[in-house]
Symmetry: C2
């Protein structure tokens, strides 16, 4: 990250336990975060408990950036997670004078926006099978190592990300497995092998 090399920006690190909250919606935004290890979920709640996860953040991702100083999501550690912290005020201090830094804030915001735009299409118009296929492709791109996709999040988290129920997520995965498009690794339902990326991509009619 650009900001990391700037001496006026203070850096520190913190580790959150699986399930613990990093910050809450509407809290003042003191820090910007970068995931060092682990996974973070970012979500909004309705008053009756319905939850929409808007993003998962994996190592390398930056999150918690907000214009206006107040967080618009709650974030929690999906697994034990270590993050780097950057004081927000130290960014503000230099933002006005340093065009390069403001530009990188713009880049980060644009990246978030592009993801949100794609996700709106998924949530508004795709079928459950298409959503799950799109999810697998996204996660495969972002966190596959050694040919195995190790999902850090539960079926419920996936469901709340894709705007469906955990049962339908499970059924969709079973269906894709039955079709020979993916396989589960022995004894862990979160370890997935994508056997046919071609066909999987076909299920996600992007564009």
């Amino acid at each position: 990250m650009t900001a990391a090399s700037n001496p006026t920006v203070s850096l520190s690190e913190f580790t959150y336990r699986r399930g613990s909250e990093i910050y809450g919606e509407k809290e003042p935004a003191e820090y910007i975060y970068q995931v060092k290890s682990g996974t973070v979920r970012s979500y909004k709640l309705l008053s009756d408990g319905r939850r929409q996860i808007n993003a998962f953040h994996v190592p390398g991702d930056t999150f918690g950036l907000t214009n206006g100083g107040v967080h618009r999501f709650t974030t929690e550690a999906v697994t034990d997670t270590t993050v780097r912290l950057i004081r927000r005020e130290s960014l503000d201090a230099v933002a006005g004078s340093d065009g390069t830094l403001t530009g990188s804030l713009l880049d980060m915001t644009t990246t978030n926006l592009r993801h949100a735009e794609d996700h709106m299409l998924l949530l508004g118009r795709k079928t459950s099978l298409e959503r799950v296929a799109a999810f697998l492709i996204e996660m495969d791109r972002r966190l596959t190592a050694a040919g195995v996709l190790a999902l850090p999040m539960s079926r419920r988290d996936i469901a709340d990300y894709l705007g469906m129920t955990l049962e339908i997520v499970s059924r969709s995965l079973s269906h894709l497995r039955a079709l020979g498009i993916l396989g589960f690794i022995d004894n862990n339902q979160r370890h997935i092998v994508l056997l046919d990326r071609q066909q999987l991509t076909g299920f996600d009619r992007r564009n």
Copy 2:
């Protein structure tokens, strides 16, 4: 591009006929637009024709801003629409050196992002009645004059914005009217009076 060949471009203004395309997805982004009069819809399509409208732009709104020089949506005039044009390259030229300008790009992008974030919650987790209620509240805020909400867009457009069908939009509106929460003005189904904003807000369980 249509606008490029038109003489009114030199005046930095252009008028689009109802239904005509302003720019297409994946086209290079030459201009940024501001709505002077009329309404614009911005959308993505799936290969089989399913459409997700991500935003309606009304007078005063800026749209067409994209980092990377390529449009991520198709935009069309919902009604006859006049826009002001700003050459994109003229922004790029000063963006690096002028922190203030880059900051305003950041503000616009942040505004878009916030809207997209709220819309993800709507698309992923709200019921059809909640969606329509939220839509009416949003449009009431953005374009009501003289106590009457004059919707420029069709039921189909509304449906594609809210991730549902035009029939369900129509039924939801009829339902709200039956409850005495809104009324239609004589002889035009797109002129709506909000009789009970309090109760309408109750249907949209925001947060």
